[in-house]
């Protein structure tokens, strides 16, 4: 019975306001945008609260489309057993963590989970190098130009190899220093507390870790 008039009840809104960092307007906007991702017939309030939206549709949101970490974000916030879809409450959780008013501790906690590509509870060398790959746009979702594709296919991608070489060189240069700074217990990996400690001294983190609809 989907329609333009479906709104969340007052009690539900108040409850979400208690449990997340979002304001009433933000929750309503989130609900509206979430409903737009659902097929036309299933847009009623009850159905939207139960629905599970697959990743491909969530990733089509403009706020996430350009983000190199979009798959990781979805995977971290997903509570479905197969971990490949988001419910409305997962979506609210996502927006709450990325909102303006979320505490730095919450943000750093979830940032750690997002950057932990292999989900083992620590950031090791492999995680950090995949992180840098994502940052420089050479991660899993790189869109190569036609000529670059051709080069790769021809296996003569000197430029890609040069980039990789440069990346590897940078990692070789910086990783020891990153670990030196953040790895307090000297086990070669960064765990959550060490990560939060390093992030607390980073001046740009709070302003960059934000998504607003």
């Amino acid at each position: 019975m989907g329609g333009s008039g479906s709104r969340l009840s007052k009690e539900l809104l108040a409850e979400y306001q208690d449990l997340t960092f979002l304001t009433k307007q933000e929750i309503l906007l989130a609900h509206k945008r979430f409903c737009e991702l659902l097929p036309q017939e299933h847009r009623s309030v009850e159905e939207s609260l139960r629905a599970q939206v697959p990743f491909e549709q969530i990733l089509s949101l403009p706020e996430l489309k350009a983000n190199p970490f979009k798959e990781r974000i979805c995977r971290v916030f997903s509570t479905s057993p197969t971990r490949d879809s988001l419910s409305f409450e997962d979506f609210l959780d996502l927006l709450s963590v990325f909102s303006d008013t979320a505490t730095p501790d919450i943000k750093s906690h979830y940032a750690f989970r997002i950057f932990d590509f292999d989900d083992d509870g620590t950031l090791n060398r492999e995680d950090l190098s995949r992180l840098v790959n994502c940052l420089t746009g050479e991660g899993e979702d790189t869109r190569l130009s036609v000529s670059e594709m051709k080069q790769l296919v021809d296996n003569v991608s000197s430029r890609a190899r040069e980039r990789e070489g440069r990346l590897g060189l940078w990692l070789k240069l910086s990783l020891p220093q990153i670990l030196e700074e953040s790895d307090i217990d000297r086990d070669g990996t960064i765990n959550l507390s060490e990560f939060q400690h390093v992030i607390s001294r980073s001046p740009d983190f709070a302003s960059s870790f934000k998504i607003v609809l």
Binding site: A66, G137, E181, I199
Partner: protein
């Protein structure tokens, strides 16, 4: 095999990570999960956690730790004790369904509390909700919220910080305008338009030379049609009589029913008030940035961690901006490698190479100095030429020639500020610095150039005002032939500078940036500090700021591509505020000199009955009761008040910086001491 770490840790409720047996050294297997406890025992972490709203609560008797942000799966059943923090649920890093369960548990626990505790919890919750609603209301009042948010989405946080800074400037100017309006303009308007029953008080001149008080207002007779345009563009004629310029305020007081409002005193006090307010507001805003940028102990480490963990702006919504961000991050990696290479090169330099480099640098710095001196001299000559030829009759000149002479100083200043950055950029190539230092030095030189050109202009005008044909000006104290009303005329020069800047920015946006759209990817905020310096220039600075806000925004949205260099928000914020602060200090200096040393003009303005502007204060003090008078005489004198005030501000800033520095080093020392103690304890335990 019990945990080797001693009595300080009681990790009840958490999985015990028993250390590997037979392993004498403290390797990673011992630290897998007790390490987490350990780190949260660190004194620095505890003090930080105490300062922020604590997520974890620690029960001292049983030693359980509830660390909801620590684990991936919830530890609700295991870790909750009676000492459950009544912090809001949202601060726990769990998903919504788990938070619901936690809240239900909290509510059932509430039943076991006394009435008083329950009421306390309830009232604190409702108070927090009220605060949130109030906060929400105030964010709606925030100026240009949506625009700045969209800029953030399209261009990243670096550019957004520039526009937030502009918004701060607008607010500052608005407040300054309100101060001036309330204190100076309002009584005048109230009396002029007969809103209140008050009258003007005009004190006639006392034994003043008639030559000092003569002020020939603009010529009568044939007025050409373009003289209005000239008046608008140069601040003479009809514009001079408005409240924009000093000369308008000829009234000595406003007499209300019960008291007389002393206008000269109000004028002076409002000036001091808004300068002090600007200084304090800017310092307050920049304290954060100072702490980060000046107290950075290990520049490299911090910048690496900051670079990768906080490198991506999650708010970017634009695909092309994301691509730009990726390329700028790649550029930064390249720059880092380059810096490393150059550092190695510098380390390997032989002594003769070093001598060669240093002598080359000395030579090039001399060239830079020569360029600067040449520019300053050009501005000096242009100003003198313009001042002397401005007085010619309008009908003897061609329209364009007149305007050219009026605007000559502004034109020369703008040209100089345009050419010198290019020269500096060329020169610095040969000086062989590391790329980061190159950029910083170039920016430093350009900013210095901009601020110094304004200083030269002011200095030239000052010297012209205080020098007469026969040496020192004995008649009136200033050059009354050329400058019968010198405050207004200085104001007119500044007005012309501002108008010219505005026109140039407009022209550059329309005629240069639009055609240049896809050709050159440069987007650097330019021309802004001058405007900010003259934030004291009353309400018309509002127009200036508006123009800077809207035209750069337009230009930004349609023509700009951000520069390849990473434009980080924290760095740029600090830089803007620093330049603003320096500009403000530089603007205060000529103001104080002119207020206290140069006699105020006798032909116009509210200070005709005083020797200098500052004399208002001693005269007012002399009307106080005698005890107060002696006190005031004691603490204040011209030469004491201003430096004292500046020292106070400087001391304030330094103390804030110092306290942050002390906290930082103290926490590190405490951490180290704690770790050493734990280590020795653990080694002692293991030996037993």
């Amino acid at each position: 095999w019990s945990l080797p770490l001693g009595s300080g840790l009681r990790p009840g409720g958490l999985p015990q990570g028993a250390g590997g047996p037979g392993n004498p050294s403290l390797d990673s297997s011992c630290f897998s999960s007790p390490a987490v406890n350990f780190l949260q025992e660190l004194p620095s972490y505890r003090s930080v956690a105490r300062r922020r709203t604590a997520i974890l609560s620690r029960d001292r008797q049983s030693g359980t730790l509830l660390k909801p942000t620590d684990s991936y799966s919830s530890h609700l059943e295991g870790g909750i004790t009676e000492n459950l923090n009544s912090q809001s649920i949202r601060k726990y890093a769990l998903n919504i369904s788990e938070k619901r369960r936690l809240r239900d548990i909290q509510e059932t626990q509430m039943k076991y509390l006394s009435e008083w505790d329950q009421w306390k919890r309830y009232s604190s919750k409702s108070w927090k909700r009220f605060l949130e609603k109030a906060h929400e209301m105030t964010t709606h009042l925030e100026l240009w919220r949506e625009d700045i948010r969209s800029i953030e989405g399209k261009f990243g946080t670096g550019i957004q910080s520039y526009f937030s800074f502009l918004r701060f400037l607008v607010l500052l100017n608005l407040v300054i305008f309100l101060i001036i309006f309330m204190l100076v303009l309002l009584p005048i308007f109230l009396t002029k338009y007969k809103i209140t029953n008050s009258s003007f008080v005009l004190i006639p001149f006392k034994d003043m030379d008639i030559q000092c008080t003569a002020y020939p207002i603009s010529s009568s007779g044939l007025i050409y049609f373009y003289s209005y345009i000239i008046d608008l563009l140069s601040g003479t004629g009809f514009l001079e009589g408005t409240s924009l310029f000093y000369g308008h305020y000829t009234i000595d007081g406003v007499k209300f029913q019960n008291f007389t409002y002393d206008l000269p005193l109000a004028y002076l006090l409002s000036t001091i008030a808004y300068l002090a307010l600007s200084l304090l507001w800017i310092v307050k805003r920049s304290v954060e940035g100072f702490k980060i940028n000046l107290i950075r102990s290990e520049e490299h480490f911090q910048s690496y961690c900051n670079k990768i963990f906080a490198g991506w702006d999650f708010c970017i919504t634009n695909r092309s901006t994301a691509d730009l961000k990726h390329s700028s991050l790649r550029y930064e990696l390249r720059a880092d490698l380059e810096e490393e290479r150059i550092r190695q090169k510098i380390a390997e330099r032989t002594s003769e190479e070093t001598i060669r480099i240093y002598s080359l640098r000395l030579f090039l710095n001399c060239i830079v100095l020569a360029v600067l001196v040449a520019c300053f001299y050009a501005i000096y000559i242009a100003t003198i030429f313009s001042q002397e030829h401005m007085k010619k009759e309008i009908d003897k000149m061609v329209f364009g020639e007149n305007l050219l002479i009026l605007y000559l100083p502004s034109i020369v200043i703008t040209l100089a500020n345009f050419i010198t950055p290019m020269i500096f950029a060329k020169i610095i190539h040969y000086e062989d610095y590391s790329p980061g230092f190159e950029i910083r030095l170039t920016i430093l030189r350009c900013v210095f150039m901009r601020l110094a050109t304004i200083c030269v202009l002011v200095f030239t005008l000052g010297s012209k005002i205080t020098s007469c044909d026969n040496g020192t000006c004995e008649l009136c104290g200033y050059n009354q032939k050329l400058y019968p009303c010198w405050e207004t005329q200085v104001g007119q020069e500044m007005y012309k500078l501002m108008i010219f800047d505005f026109i140039i920015i407009l022209a550059v946006t329309l005629f240069v940036d639009f055609p240049r759209k896809k050709v050159r990817p440069i987007c650097v905020p330019a021309g802004m500090p001058e405007c900010a310096d003259f934030a004291s220039w009353k309400l018309h600075s509002l127009i200036c700021i508006f123009s800077f806000l809207f035209f750069p925004q337009l230009s930004l949205l349609y023509t700009c591509r951000p520069s390849p260099r990473q434009f980080r928000a924290s760095n740029s914020n600090f830089f803007f505020l620093l330049v603003l602060l320096i500009g403000l200090c530089l603007a205060i200096i000529p103001l104080t000199i002119s207020m206290s040393r140069i006699p105020s003009s006798k032909a116009c303005g509210p200070f005709t009955n005083f020797n200098t502007t500052w004399e208002v204060i001693p005269r007012t003090v002399s009307t106080f009761p005698s005890s107060l008078q002696s006190l005031v005489h004691g603490i204040t004198s011209e030469a004491f008040a201003v430096p004292f005030f500046m020292i106070i501000c400087l001391g304030f800033t330094l103390s804030v910086m110092g306290s942050h520095w002390r906290v930082l080093s103290r926490s590190q020392i405490r951490d180290k001491r704690y770790l050493i103690q734990k280590l020795t304890e653990a080694q002692g335990d293991m030996r037993n």
